[in-house]
Structures are given as C-alpha cells and as structure tokens.
C-alpha cells in the first residue's frame, strides 16, 4: 500500500515537471535566446537545448552599450519604491477604517473602490494626462508614481481590509480599557499583527508598479524618463528587431521580480487569498 502511494507520488511529480517545462518554456526561451549568438538565433532550425559551446554574453554587453539600460533601471526603481511606499501607508489606514466602521459612507466608499478596480487604465490615463500637463508634471517620475498609486490603492486597500477583518476588535478594546489612546492601541496591538498583510501589500504594489506600462508610456514619453517597460517595448518598433538584445534586456529586468517573488511568495499567496476569498 505504502509503495503504491509512493509510486503515485512520483507520477504526480513527473506530470508536474512535464507541465512546468511546458509552462516555463517562454522564460527559458528568453534566457536561451539572450545567450546565443545571432547566427544561432536567426536560424530556421533553432537548437532547443542550451549548447554550452555557443553561450556568450555578447548581447548583454551590446544592449548595455546601445541602450540606456542603467537609466531605465534607475527610473523603474525610483517609481516602484515611491509608489509602493505611498500605497502601503494609505491603504493601511484606509483598509483599517473600511474594516472597523460601517456607516453608509463607508459602504459607498467600498463600492466606489470596487468599481475603481474595474476602471480601464486607458480611461484613467486621459484625465491624468490632462491634470499632469496642467501641472507641468509630464515626463516626471512623480507623475508616474501618482498615477501608479491611484491604480494600486483600490486593490491594496481591499487586501488590508481583509487582514484587519481577521483581527478581533476585542484586542483593541482591551488596549483602550487599559488606558491606551486610540493611536497607541493601533500602533502597539493591531499593527504588529498585520505584518504579513503589509508584506503582501508591499510585494503586490511593487510588482504592479514595476510592471506598469500604460501610464509610463503616456505620461513620460521623453526617453530620459522612460522606465524599462517602455524601453523594452521600444525595441519592437525598430526596423530590424535585435532579438538577442531584447531578450537580454528582458532577462535583466525580470531578475529583481523573480528574486522578490521567491523570497516573499508565501506572504503574497496569503495576502491575495485573504483579500479575494474569506475562508
């Protein structure tokens, strides 16, 4: 009996690995292309397996020389850190109030937030463009941060609300009875319990703003203010696309997000499911 179970387990792992090969092939192929010389890439009979004798980092060097990769990276990083910070602070308090007070206004706000989760970015970007051009903020990273924040907060607020819902009000009340101020009980009792929620919100907003494309393309068309997604997309419009360079750039920009994902994935899973589904 035990042996049969073992066998079944191995079959499952084999199926899982087969599925993974299939599902992760696009990522593999991106890295593969970035490591191959042009002659091997532009071939009608491409080699599927990595040929160690052909591996070279020429396209990485090349893309660094020909494109302002460092600047794109820096812009992306600034926008991501800025948007994530603001989103976390705002959604922390907004989520708390949504969870704790249920007046008519609160209900309405919940509905409005839910609705704004459904706003197409392409619609949101029109008024943002008009506002920022009046304020002279077009082509500035601040505009990108502000735009990202408006898109992220509806999501993260609902996530935080899910976490606060899981913390019993009795805990705070006991704090208040013992003579804490409201802020003290929030700071010393509730906040430490929401650390996993905060972690989830941080990763979530970081991934969203790192991957953002629409706002970045519209609100910062000056090459100096490009973040990497816009830079990557700019390869495609060229006459002959440098595939190895493009894939090398793609690999570079996917690395930070993969790292973040590997280390913080458990928080993200818990956060998303807490926000989306109440157990």
């Amino acid at each position: 009996m035990l042996q049969m179970r073992d066998k079944k387990g191995y079959v499952r792992i084999a199926v899982a690995i087969f599925l993974l090969v299939f599902l992760l092939f696009p990522i593999y192929w991106m890295v593969h292309t970035s490591l191959m010389p042009t002659s091997a890439i532009l071939s009608v009979e491409p080699k599927i397996l990595l040929d160690p004798t052909l591996i070279n980092f020429f396209s990485y060097v090349d893309v660094f020389i020909r494109k302002p990769i460092v600047q794109w990276f820096r812009n992306s990083l600034v926008v991501t850190i800025g948007s994530a910070t603001v989103s976390v602070v705002v959604s922390l308090f907004a989520g708390y109030s949504l969870s704790r007070y249920s007046t008519f206004g609160q209900q309405l706000m919940g509905y409005i937030l839910l609705l704004s989760r459904m706003l197409p970015g392409a619609l949101l970007v029109i008024p943002l463009y008009i506002i920022f051009s009046r304020m002279g903020l077009i082509n500035s990273l601040i505009a990108l941060m502000a735009a990202n924040v408006t898109a992220i907060i509806p999501f993260t607020t609902w996530m935080m609300k899910g976490f606060f819902d899981g913390i019993p009000t009795e805990l705070e009340e006991s704090g208040l009875i013992d003579g804490c101020s409201w802020f003290d009980s929030f700071y010393y009792i509730v906040l430490p319990l929401t650390v996993p929620g905060l972690a989830a919100v941080i990763i979530y907003s970081a991934i969203l703003s790192w991957n953002e494309y629409l706002f970045a393309r519209t609100l910062a068309y000056d090459p100096g203010a490009w973040i990497f997604t816009v830079g990557i997309a700019s390869f495609v419009g060229e006459h002959s696309v440098s595939w190895s360079g493009l894939m090398a750039a793609g690999t570079i920009f996917i690395i930070p997000i993969i790292f973040l994902f590997f280390f913080l994935e458990p928080y993200l899973v818990r956060g998303l499911t807490a926000g989306a589904i109440k157990e």
Binding site: M118, I126, Y213, I257, F261, A276
Partner: protein, 264 residues
C-alpha cells in the same frame, strides 16, 4: 478620501475636457451609432471570454496537481506561479519572438510535428492575431486561478475523500461531488476578477499589435487609447471610456451581492 480619487477624476475631468467645447451629446450619438464601437466591444468580449476560460482550465489543472504533491511542493508552486509576476510587456515580447514568422520557435515545433507545412505569420494575419494575443494573456493569467483554487482546495478535509473512496466513488465522482462544491465559489469569483482584469488589458496587446492588423485586436481598452493619444480625440475617447465604465458598473452591480458576501 484620496483613495477614491481615481474614480472621481475619471468622471469629472473627462467632462471638463469636453467642457472646453460646447456641451452636447454629440460624442455619445457618434460613438453609439458607430459600428466600430460595437466591433471593439465584441472583440473585447471574445478576448476576455477566451482568455479567462482557457486560463481557468489551465489554472484548475495545475491547482489540482499541486494540491496532491508531496515533495518539492513549495518549489514547484513558486515556479508554477512565476508567470504572474512577469511584466506584461516582457510576456508580450517573448511571445512575439516565439511566434515570429520566420525564426519563431513555435512555427519550428509545429513544422516538426507536421501540423503546418509552411510558416504561419501569427500576428499579421487578422484571423490569427486574436489567438496570438490571447496566448500570452492566458500564460500571464492562469497563476491567479491556480492560486485561488489551490487555497480553497486546501480547505476541503481529506476525510471527505476517504469516506467517498470507502463507498467506492470513482475519480470523476470525487471531483463532481466533493472537489467542485468545495471550490465552486472561489472558482466563480476568480473568473469574475480575472475577466475584469482581462477586459482592461493593455500592456500585452499594445506592444505587440497596437490594435492591428486592421483593427483585429482592437479591444475597447486599446481603442480608447488610440482615440485619445493617436488621434487626440479626447472627447470621443472619454465617451468610450464612460461606456466601458458603464458596462463594468452594470456587471459589478449585478454581481455585488455575491461578491459582498465573500469579500466582507
């Protein structure tokens, strides 16, 4: 109060931009009478429905598999969920490369397998272009289903299965009467959320086709953008946007009772 700004500005500013011109319903009659609008809506619906359903099937399969995995569970789960974190633009360019008409690896595989005899130009054929943008969308979208379904699968007690097995239930019956009722609500909710996400997708379609060829992939989101920033028809674009918002609002209002029950 600031966090609802996104919604309010969307409303007032788009009217303000029209407001510099004389008021009137011109944009609305124009947009509503234009066949192109309904074509875009139809394309949006085709795109959303096909991406969401394929993503759901893939997500369901991976979730069922992951749930039963003993060893390497965490590693395999992370790897399965990875495409979710990949930027839409990168997913777009990778598929653009894989589906490249002359050197694309997909054409190579299909040639080897004997499915096609000569290369297919995926993104340039209006009939295939929609399929070609659905592909990266499914790839980026399925982990969300895996995640939500997996979470609810883990809430089903193993004893249910043992009891059913003792009674001699088949695998199909186990799924139909134990697994499916256990995940039904999560599945429906994730389909709704994913459909709403797909309805707005911009960063996967735009870098690949920008709505082309010949408008074959011009969903509402892409069309709003093209009207506004290619033809500078801000009024028309806003009208289209309000229309999209209206569709979403009706959709959400209908489903709000269900969502509310599970969200709160």
């Amino acid at each position: 109060m600031t966090f609802d700004l996104s919604f309010r500005i969307g409303h007032s500013m788009s009217f303000q931009s029209i407001g510099e011109l004389p008021y009137g319903l011109g944009n609305y009659t124009q947009v509503l009478q234009n066949d192109q609008t309904w074509e875009s809506l139809a394309k949006s619906l085709i795109y959303t429905v096909s991406s969401t359903l394929s993503g759901f099937v893939l997500g369901l399969c991976t979730a069922l598999l992951l749930n039963k995995l003993g060893k390497f569970k965490r590693l395999i789960r992370i790897l399965t969920l990875l495409p979710w974190a990949v930027p839409g633009v990168i997913a777009a360019v990778v598929f653009l490369w894989m589906l490249d008409p002359s050197y694309g690896v997909v054409n190579y595989f299909l040639r080897k397998l004997g499915v096609i005899s000569k290369n297919v130009s995926w993104f340039f054929d209006p009939q295939l272009a929609m399929f070609s943008v659905v592909l990266p969308t499914v790839w980026k979208g399925y982990p969300f289903f895996t995640l939500t379904i997996l979470a609810s699968l883990q809430g089903i007690p193993e004893t249910y299965y043992e009891a059913a097995r003792v009674d001699g239930a088949s695998v199909l019956k186990l799924f139909r009467y134990i697994t499916w009722p256990g995940i039904r609500i999560a599945a429906i909710l994730s389909i709704i959320l994913n459909a709403l996400w797909t309805f707005r997708v911009f960063d996967i379609i735009f870098p690949i086709t920008a709505g082309g060829p010949m408008g074959a992939t011009e969903t509402l989101a892409i069309r709003i953008y093209n009207e506004a920033f290619r033809f500078y028809q801000m009024g028309k674009a806003s009208t289209l946007g309000i229309l999209t918002l209206f569709i979403c609002a009706v959709f959400v209002s209908l489903l709000y009772p269900l969502m509310k029950k599970r969200f709160y």
